[in-house]
């Protein structure tokens, strides 16, 4: 009885929270909406990164590659071929998810730091390539593509809200599924997972491609939101590092850790940047070091450890 009651409470609370988020464009200022759009974009990045890296233990330093590839395709479709934004975004996600299967097939056999470095190399290489004259007829080279997608801020906000919700929901479903269990088994002991008959390469590639699709969609929306794309911006290492730090901050391998991380991180960033423009990077660094020292499992991991939250993977 008690448990059922609790469940209803959670569902009601969730519906109210979603209703509040959906209604925000009707009363909030553009400043707040912009901030929320950023939080939601980074929620998608962090959750998408966590979906693969948090569950399988393969640290992916190629998030910017997902974002850049998808951002480029969708931006080119919108700018040069006048595609409707809602159709252009999934194309970007699909392209990067298909490409990532090929990349994963080759790179997901190497482990640890080698995989991480390979992904950085891939990102940097692609960034260089997109800026060169060879691809200029398609990518417009280093000068980038300014474009207008004809989407209003509230519509963009609702789109990214929907994507963020879908991403977290997918992460939740996967974490509590058998597929998620197999991924965690790979993370804990890949050889043992193999002895159980798990086709580890296949499972890793599926998770990698799914992560690429979600992050790619986020990247496409991000570029549309910026109305601009160029190689240095789209394949920027910051786009890889920030979501990773957010995930570590919130709790790696948890479902809601990346959400919490992205939200708090963006807020702290915003406040520090506005109030202490000159010092903010230094203070930010100090906060990060403290967090890594005292909360190595992230905020959510810490709360689970202390018994504030139940120790289940579904959270």
């Amino acid at each position: 009885m008690g448990k059922k009651f609790e469940r209803t409470q959670i569902i009601i609370g969730f519906i109210l929270f979603m209703a509040f988020l959906i209604s925000i464009p009707f009363f909030a200022s553009d400043y707040w909406m912009t901030l929320l759009v950023l939080i939601l974009i980074y929620t998608v990045y962090a959750s998408g990164w966590n979906l693969f890296s948090g569950l399988t233990g393969y640290t992916n330093f190629g998030l910017a590659w997902f974002i850049g590839i998808s951002g480029y395709l969708s931006s080119i479709l919108i700018a040069d071929y006048q595609w409707f934004w809602l159709l252009a975004w999934p194309m970007g996600g699909l392209l990067v998810s298909i490409l990532s299967m090929g990349v994963g097939y080759i790179l997901l056999r190497i482990k640890g730091v080698y995989f991480a470095i390979s992904m950085v190399a891939l990102t940097e290489g692609t960034r260089e390539l997109f800026g060169t004259g060879y691809l200029e007829p398609i990518t417009h080279g280093g000068k980038g593509i300014p474009f207008v997608a004809g989407i209003r801020l509230p519509t963009l906000y609702w789109s990214i809200l929907f994507l963020a919700f879908a991403t977290v929901f997918i992460c939740y479903k996967i974490t509590s599924s058998r597929f998620g269990l197999r991924l965690v088994a790979i993370r804990e002991d890949e050889q043992a997972a193999e002895t159980l008959g798990i086709h580890t390469t296949k499972e890793k590639i599926i998770a990698f491609a799914l992560s690429a699709f979600l992050v790619g969609l986020g990247g496409a929306i991000h570029c549309t939101y910026q109305n601009y794309i160029d190689p240095n911006y789209a394949f920027n290492i910051q786009l890889t590092l920030t979501p990773i730090v957010m995930t570590l901050f919130g709790g790696i391998g948890t479902v809601f850790g990346p959400v919490l991380g992205a939200t708090l991180f963006t807020f702290i960033h915003e406040i520090l940047w506005a109030e202490l423009t000159l010092l903010y990077m230094a203070i930010f660094g100090a906060i990060l070091m403290i967090l890594i020292l005292f909360f190595p499992q992230g905020l959510l991991g810490w709360m689970k450890e202390k018994g504030i939250l139940p120790k289940i993977r579904k959270i």
Partner: protein
């Protein structure tokens, strides 16, 4: 030209019961001239052995003889450079592990490999994941709970909260979820208290009695030979002795070299 393994076969010692010329065994698993190792380092230089129906087969030998390597190569975790592995009449040499598991060979790796954050139930789910049908899965679960009744009460318990012996039993139970036709065990006694070693071995005999043969690699040579129907002694990646479990136990050479006098 003779293949290299036949030369090795010639100088190994087969202990034969007095009066009988040959021990007749039907082969469920049959390994011939296995050459394998880690990368360029060759560990096995031609190992041959077989496991018959309803048998416990012990594989012993000094450290570094390649006992675990045999299991890993058979289970598909290491590349086999020469020789062949035949399981249920089908050659499975160099097949990937997931195919070998699907054929019904379960592998319990060394060092009670459990996943600390997962519950007992989740371990068993994971073990049964190659089974597609829900009903079959439930039957498998029921059978494993019958074999390990105490796991049922602890099914919500996470592996991290369990003792070493319990973890080994959980690992064994997980391997049993595919309803194997053969069970490979890599040092099931490793790091366990004498009481737990006893319990684990009794469980293995129970598994064997239910019709599932086991190929067991063990450091505790005297103990495993006592339980084994047949045994093999490896040395430097080659067969050295083989014979019925108690024959090996009684053999003076085996005793002197491997059982400590």
């Amino acid at each position: 030209m003779k293949p290299c393994w036949s030369i090795i076969l010639e100088d190994k010692n087969i202990l034969v019961d007095e009066g009988k010329v040959e021990i007749k065994r039907d082969n469920l698993l049959f390994i011939e001239g296995l050459v394998s190792g880690y990368g360029k380092m060759e560990i096995l230089h031609g190992v041959s052995l077989s496991v018959g129906k309803g048998e416990i087969v012990g594989l012993i030998g000094p450290n570094g003889a390649g006992k675990s390597t045999v299991l890993k190569a058979v289970g598909g975790l290491l590349k086999i450079t020469s020789g062949k592995v035949v399981f249920l009449g089908e050659e499975i040499t160099n097949h990937p592990p997931y195919q070998i598991v699907e054929k019904g060979m379960a592998f319990n790796p060394q060092g009670r490999v459990v996943f600390p954050e997962m519950t007992v139930q989740e371990h068993l789910d994971l073990g049964a994941w190659t089974i597609k049908e829900r009903k079959q899965k439930e039957e498998a679960l029921e059978r494993v709970y019958q074999l390990f009744p105490w796991l049922r009460e602890k099914r919500k318990r996470r592996a991290a909260q369990m003792s070493g012996g319990e973890q080994q039993m959980l690992s064994l139970a997980r391997a049993m979820m595919i309803q194997p036709k053969l069970l490979l065990l890599d040092e099931p006694s490793l790091g366990l208290s004498p009481k737990w070693v006893q319990t684990v071995f009794e469980k293995i005999v129970e598994i064997k009695n239910s019709g599932i043969p086991c190929l067991i690699v063990e450091q505790k040579a005297a103990m495993i030979l006592e339980y084994s129907d047949y045994g093999y002694v490896l040395e430097m990646g080659k067969n050295r002795f083989e014979g019925k479990g108690h024959d090996l136990l009684q053999n003076p050479d085996v005793r002197r070299l491997y059982l400590g006098g």
